[in-house]
């Protein structure tokens, strides 16, 4: 029962959605199930929040190592959740959008989440720089091609790239670095992306068939 029922649900829902593509009156099933999916996804967010609380409250309760930081997580979580769910500080009240301009929720997003998120990603610029140092060594032919490709794209998107090759006559403008960068993006890069996308497409289709047929069942966890 614990393993059979989920396998039956997966097969039934998946097969129904695939069949619905071929039967016009059933086409709207796709929208219905997408909406169901979105609704369940919200519950999954709540599950994630609940789990986060369980983990950090456990650390707080047991006064485990770095419990003070768990307090920060719980406090931040509680503050944002209360402001968000009850629309506290929203000038338009319950009828207004949660992200309405001037609302406290929007301010917390703008002044806490945006600085934290974007700085976290910006931090990667430094690590990418050190990774570039290792990757950009032309040790063999493949690494050299990678180096040249990345270099042209980087230079082509800066005024410096334009300045370097602006002397090239209009008839040979493809050799100007910005144009070369555009050509690389629309030519070799597109070809590589396409080969990868075709591979991904085939991979997703075969994995979907494996899931529907119950061959792939790792999402149910280990057999006990």
């Amino acid at each position: 029962m614990r393993r059979q029922v989920p396998l039956i649900i997966t097969f039934f829902i998946g097969a129904l959605l695939v069949i619905s593509v071929f039967i016009p009156p059933m086409v709207s099933l796709k929208e219905t199930f997408t909406l169901y999916f979105d609704i369940i996804a919200v519950f999954a967010f709540f599950l994630g929040g609940g789990n986060l609380l369980r983990v950090h409250l456990g650390k707080l309760y047991g006064k485990k190592q770095d419990w003070g930081f768990s307090l920060v997580t719980v406090a931040g979580f509680a503050m944002m959740l209360i402001v968000g769910l009850f629309k506290i500080g929203n000038p338009g009240g319950i009828a207004a959008s949660i992200t309405a301009e001037g609302s406290l929720f929007q301010k917390l997003f703008e002044y806490i989440m945006v600085p934290l998120g974007s700085t976290m990603y910006a931090l990667l610029a430094f690590f990418v720089a050190s990774a570039s140092y290792r990757a950009f060594r032309a040790k063999n032919r493949e690494a050299t091609i990678l180096l040249i490709g990345a270099f042209i794209i980087l230079l082509g998107r800066t005024p410096f790239g334009m300045m370097l090759t602006s002397w090239i006559p209009e008839q040979l403008s493809i050799l100007q670095i910005p144009n070369l960068a555009i050509w690389i993006m629309n030519g070799p890069n597109l070809a590589g992306q396409r080969a990868i996308m075709i591979g991904i497409g085939l991979g997703v289709v075969s994995m979907s068939i494996r899931i529907l047929l119950g061959i792939e069942r790792s999402y149910l966890g280990e057999d006990k």
Binding site: T10, L17, F43, M80, L85, L108, A125, I182, S208
Partner: protein
């Protein structure tokens, strides 16, 4: 907590307070809520610097910012999901009374299942969602595999068709491009290398590169035959094409990260310190 840490914390608190006061004073003539705005800008600057402090080494300020980010973003997505999906999409279809309470217009069903009454069908995801929350219980946790099966089945069913269409059929059909385009004679072919004019040479070269590149890229991913001889040569060309793709993606990633960094530095030096105009 070490003595150095206490001194450092006190210093940061003083700098924060001074910055808040200075920022509020500078916003005094522009906004009514200058005190709270001054606080929020100072807080954003403090959090930005806390994250950047990781460049030195892992430290309590970074950990503070990291933990705050985890808590705040989890609650952000929960709140947004509740208001946009539950209140925005589910309640208007479920109940007139609840729609009136949340002040959202009631929606007469568009996509209900044919075999169930309109309103009843929307209880299915609610029940499945509640079953998903059972995951938090040790005893009844196993039942959460039912909604999980629903999610996996929906994803597999939708993606099977979607990826077959967009990632396979569409991409294959777009690869079959004309290899001899708009032929206007040898003279024109060699005289016009201009990219913007879509000269014959450039367009043809592009199409050849796409066709051969995709073919060779796929050969590289084909592992059922040993990569030897002509097949091995094609596979090697495939690697080169993929290397250019990875190089381009790498270049774009670097550019994206640097532009984010520029954005944060602009915030620090313009919005917070007002050192640049």
């Amino acid at each position: 907590m070490s003595r150095t840490m206490i001194i450092l914390l006190a210093l940061v608190a003083i700098v924060f307070a001074v910055s808040w006061a200075a920022k509020s004073a500078s916003l005094d003539d522009q906004y009514d809520d200058y005190i709270s705005r001054g606080f929020l800008i100072t807080l954003a600057a403090f959090l930005t610097l806390s994250i950047l402090s990781f460049l030195y080494k892992d430290n309590p300020f970074y950990k503070f910012a990291e933990h705050l980010f985890v808590g705040v973003s989890a609650a952000y997505w929960m709140s947004l999901g509740f208001w946009s999906t539950i209140v925005g999409n589910l309640i208007p279809r479920l109940s007139v009374t609840l729609s009136a309470f949340f002040k959202v217009p009631h929606i007469e069903d568009e996509y209900a299942l044919y075999i169930l009454p309109d309103k009843v069908s929307y209880f299915i995801p609610v029940v499945l969602g509640i079953l998903l929350l059972m995951r938090l219980s040790k005893k009844a946790g196993w039942i959460s595999s039912w909604p999980l099966a629903f999610i996996v089945g929906t994803t597999a069913g939708l993606n099977l068709v979607r990826y077959l269409r967009s990632d396979f059929i569409e991409q294959v059909s777009s690869t079959f491009v004309p290899l001899l385009v708009d032929w206007q004679g040898t003279g024109r072919f060699f005289s016009d290398f201009n990219l913007y004019a879509y000269g014959q040479f450039v367009t043809m070269l592009g199409n050849w590169v796409i066709f051969i590149g995709v073919l060779c890229g796929l050969v590289y991913f084909f592992f059922s035959k040993e990569h030897k001889g002509i097949f091995g040569g094609a596979s090697r060309v495939g690697i080169w094409v993929l290397m250019i793709t990875f190089g381009a993606s790498f270049g774009y990633t670097v550019m994206g990260r640097i532009s984010l960094l520029v954005g944060r530095l602009t915030f620090l030096f313009h919005d917070w310190l007002e050192l640049i105009g």
